[in-house]
Amino acid sequence: MSRLDEAFADGPAFVPYLALGDPDLESSLEYVKALERGGADVIELGLAFSEPIAEGPTIQSAVVRSLEGGMTPTKFLDAVEDLDVDVPLVCMTYYNLIYQFGEEAGPRPFVERAAEVGLSGFVVPDLPAEESGPLREACDEFGLDLIFIVAPTTRGERLERLMDQTSGYVYVQARLGVTGAKADVSDQTGESLDRLSEWDVPKAVGFGISSGEQAREVVAAGADGVIVGSALVDIVAEGTSAASRTQSGDVAEGHENGDSTEEVAARLEEKARELKEGALAGAQARTRPERT
């Protein structure tokens, strides 16, 4: 059983996302710890890529802040190595960064280093099953999970191909489009979960979930976990702009004085707790009749 399987073993998992290095490395490490305190079971850490084609405006902005703060794949991996948290960590990034890392062409050097620093797996939004062979092979070699996204448009043969490939958990995309918080959780979620009912890998639903109530609904609908990104990144963004207002535009200094980072971390912890509790309530409320 991989660390990710274990994380889903005891009831519904809360899987938050943050871009590491947003708005600077030190602050974001504090934010990750706050998410753990708030009840995260797995944390997805975004490694910023310059062309995040699957992301909506909220996470695009986080990526820009992270890159402007000097984030690189090497800094990312070193930071994960030093990060003192117990929950399993998943790297979410785009394929070109994985492919270019190290001297040898291909994904192996990145995966090897990821295993060394203690990462548990990858989510790579621009890598469909068709192109994932070399990364899958490297992940198998070093014992990491490769998590695939199942979209509302994924059907038939594609679904089977993904079922063969995915490990750790499957990322169920709740609605079409790009990442971003939405007021309503799509009714596509239940439909998507139904299509995956035969899969024996944990199903974590993401895209658009922003409140404890939505987390409850999604888990009540049958999800094994909820993935939340933009709603948390929004909290970081608000904290960052507040800091820049008090420090006349200098974001980094605003965070060096400590107050803002602590305040943002406290808000993240609180939001995480709300989402985790929502997920737990969803499990209790799961009153779906047994299928006959």
């Binding site: 995040p52 820009v64 070109n96 192109e131 996204i149 979209a151 448009t153 994924t154 059907r155």
Partner: protein, 423 residues
């Protein structure tokens, strides 16, 4: 449609492939199937309808013109393939009309596109109006400012132009934004990619629609000059006019193929700012994955895509078509570069010597003749005039004023002080 008919590989050597979010994969599979059936096998008479429309609406075939002054200047027979005379003023209509028509055959209800210089956006807006499809075009904020006439033309044809402010606000960001739109609306929308880039089958499909350029040029050379040219020269940004001009000559091994890239202000990358002041991804780029395909890219050592630059917004892109990258690796296509200053001089030269005001993209191809050796060009050369220059006049005035271009008109007449009033 071309001699490559029924060839539809998803990869060109190691290049190409499909690196896109899962949500788009079913649409890409559907497109691949539709491309195979309608375009490669002429199901439902698609190819016949395309050829009829590109003739009657588009104005094909375009002339292959013997350029007397340039021929004398370079001591070789120079022929100009006049894609600037295609409806809309650029080769872009070949692909835009093909894809919008295909979308129609597929039962799609909406078109999205992205554009750099605005030529592809204009062509798509025209094709969409012609075929009665709603159309949204994503365009970088910076390019909107550089290309106002084309923005207005798109609006005239009923398209919505969505400004993209991310990054430097150029083509790279517009492509990302169009992909995001497509990921949201994929069930009823077709994304008309503007060049031989993106996930399979786009590079093959766009090349197929553009190969009409070399199909005609090859036939016209036989009729007008009695044989094939010794060389073909085309500018290369994403590479659609390049692949269009080369496609039918690729198997003619005696014909040399030159892809002229934008050398910008320098071929060196500014590591500190993360900017390549050029768009020469074939000449200076390295292998990587961007916008759905493995190809040659302008990127830093970590794999972050660097900002590109060219005086021509149509060439200002950090990637290039995977097939072109492969043909360069194979040694079949030779990449060369022309910098901003030389491209401007080329712009003025073609305008003065032949009475053709070219797009700044085309000006790069024309300008390279100045650097080429007679061995490279041979006794006859076909230059692809990819588009006309009306859209670039504002940029050309501004950029020419900044420089000392010996063959430029007297720029004092145009400057605020020289105009002496505003009547």
């Amino acid at each position: 449609m071309s001699s490559n008919t029924n060839e539809n590989p998803s990869k060109f050597g190691d290049y190409g492939g499909q690196y896109v979010p899962e949500a788009l994969m079913p649409a890409i599979e559907e497109l691949d199937d539709a491309f195979r059936r309608y375009v490669l096998e002429n199901e439902g008479g698609f190819v016949d309808e395309f050829r009829e429309r590109i003739r009657d609406f588009g104005g094909r075939p375009t002339p292959l013109q013997y350029a007397e002054q340039l021929s004398a200047r370079y001591d070789t027979d120079v022929y100009l393939k006049r894609e600037d005379l295609l409806h809309g003023g650029a080769h872009k209509l070949n692909n835009a009309l093909g894809q919008v028509l295909l979308a129609k055959y597929m039962g799609k209800e909406r078109i999205v596109a992205e554009t750099g210089a605005g030529q592809h956006g204009t062509a798509t807006a025209m094709a969409a109006a012609h075929l009665d499809m709603p159309c949204v075009v994503y365009m970088g904020r910076r390019d909107i400012n550089r290309q106002r006439p084309n923005v207005f033309r798109m609006r005239l044809n009923g398209a919505e132009v969505e400004p993209v402010t991310a990054g430097r606000g150029t083509l790279k960001e517009a492509i990302s934004e169009a992909m995001r739109d497509w990921a949201t609306t994929v069930e009823n929308t077709h994304y008309v990619i503007g060049s031989v880039v993106g996930p399979h089958p786009f590079p093959t499909m766009v090349r197929e629609f553009q190969s009409v350029i070399s199909e005609e040029a090859r036939r016209q050379m036989r009729e007008q000059a009695g044989g094939l040219p010794d060389s073909v020269v085309a500018c290369a940004g994403g590479g659609s006019n390049t692949m269009g001009a080369f496609a039918e000559f690729v198997s003619d091994e005696d014909v040399s193929l030159f892809a002229v890239e934008a050398g910008g202000s320098s071929l060196e990358v500014d590591e500190e700012t993360g900017v390549a002041p050029n768009s020469a991804s074939l000449s200076t780029g390295t292998e990587g994955v961007l916008h759905g395909a493995r190809t040659r890219l302008l990127q830093d050592g970590d794999g972050q895509i660097v900002e590109s630059h060219s005086i021509s917004s149509g060439l200002d892109y950090a990637g290039v078509g995977p097939e072109l990258a492969h043909l360069v690796d194979e040694g079949r296509v030779t990449p060369v570069t022309v910098d901003d200053d030389a491209a401007l001089a080329g712009f003025h030269r073609l305008s003065q010597e032949e009475g053709i005001i070219p797009a700044l993209e085309t000006a790069h191809a024309v300008a390279w003749l100045e650097d080429a050796t007679s061995d490279q060009l041979g006794d006859s050369v076909v230059v692809c005039v990819s588009g006309r220059g009306d859209k670039d006049l504002e940029s050309v005035i501004e950029e020419t004023e900044k420089r000392d271009i010996e063959n430029a008109p007297d720029m004092d007449v145009f400057s605020a002080s020289g105009a002496g009033g505003s009547e």
